[in-house]
Symmetry: C2
């Protein structure tokens, strides 16, 4: 068994884009740590504007990255009027863009709007215990009144990572997930 | 295989409540037929107000019923600040209320806000072909990039009904559902 958590709409930004959105020389400020070591939710949020609507308050996740990426659910996508591909983090080729709005400016992204592929973070010991490898796809069963089995869940192994499955809010709600409840890995 | 369709937030109303919301003597007006024989989406919409937020544009589904019920997703529930139970249509005891707002007035519902139990409508011949009975729970597999298996899907049999599975928008998006795509019934 392993814990599951839902990710709401959020943005990863380059330092250059941080400065466009929040001002020259601006540094991201931590709101709270995430369960992924080194990652944190920031006080900074952006508005995401698409062809058919906009969503305010998308949390920026720090630290800055080499690419700017906004992870949205398909419910967010319907509001924005964008069709994001299902992708792993950083795989942005051919993904659609959107306009990001911060406190100091706005930014027309040409690409970077994706729906995250559901995945499990684990360390090397966890992988050995579960008998799985980085990049492998497994099934995960969520028990309960809205029980379901997610297929095509990708395993990601890193020595630093805490064991946790990540789904978006649509995926979590479909199973009646409560953050950090335990789910079952099925090979 | 059978078709699946997503239901967005919507309201069923009593004639009394139609008149509170849209004016004395008001009759619901059809926008378009639904795939459920006799049921139709109306031109009338309501705003649903909860303790933490409001959602405008919830379509009223006609004809009027003996009870007023609003079916919401868990994403809607998070916006409204309401915790709806998972229920079959009409099973409203102990469910929370909300304020409904129409063009002519508003209404403080004491109960009637529910999340719909995912279900399959079928006629008697379909039930015989699938080898299932009214009230039985089955599993349904959605194929594709976001493949998943819904458990606890309840079978509803009525001689008049067209064969169709109904899920809410969270549930549909979690599986990357496109309305009327085919899914697989697993006993």
């Amino acid at each position: 068994m392993l814990p599951i958590a839902m990710s709401d709409i959020h943005a990863h930004l380059t330092q250059e884009h941080v400065e466009v959105l929040f001002g020259k020389g601006h540094q991201l400020t931590k709101w709270r740590d995430l369960t992924i070591p080194g990652a944190y939710a920031c006080n900074e949020t952006v508005e995401v504007r698409g062809p058919s609507g906009s969503i305010k308050g998308a949390v920026v996740v720090g630290p800055t990255r080499k690419y700017t990426q906004v992870e949205i659910s398909l419910t967010n996508a319907a509001v924005l009027g964008i069709k994001p591909p299902l992708r792993e983090s950083g795989d942005l080729e051919g993904s659609p863009g959107a306009v990001l709005v911060g406190t100091a400016g706005e930014l027309a992204l040409e690409k970077g709007i994706v729906a995250a592929l559901r995945h499990i973070h684990m360390n090397t010991n966890d992988a050995r215990e579960f008998g799985v490898k980085d990049g492998q796809r497994v099934k995960i069963r969520v028990p309960g009144e809205r029980a379901l089995v997610y297929e095509n869940v990708i395993i990601r192994v890193d020595p630093e990572w805490a064991l946790e499955m990540h789904v978006d809010v649509d995926e979590g709600h479909a199973a009646g997930v409560v953050d950090f409840q335990l789910v079952e890995l099925i090979r």
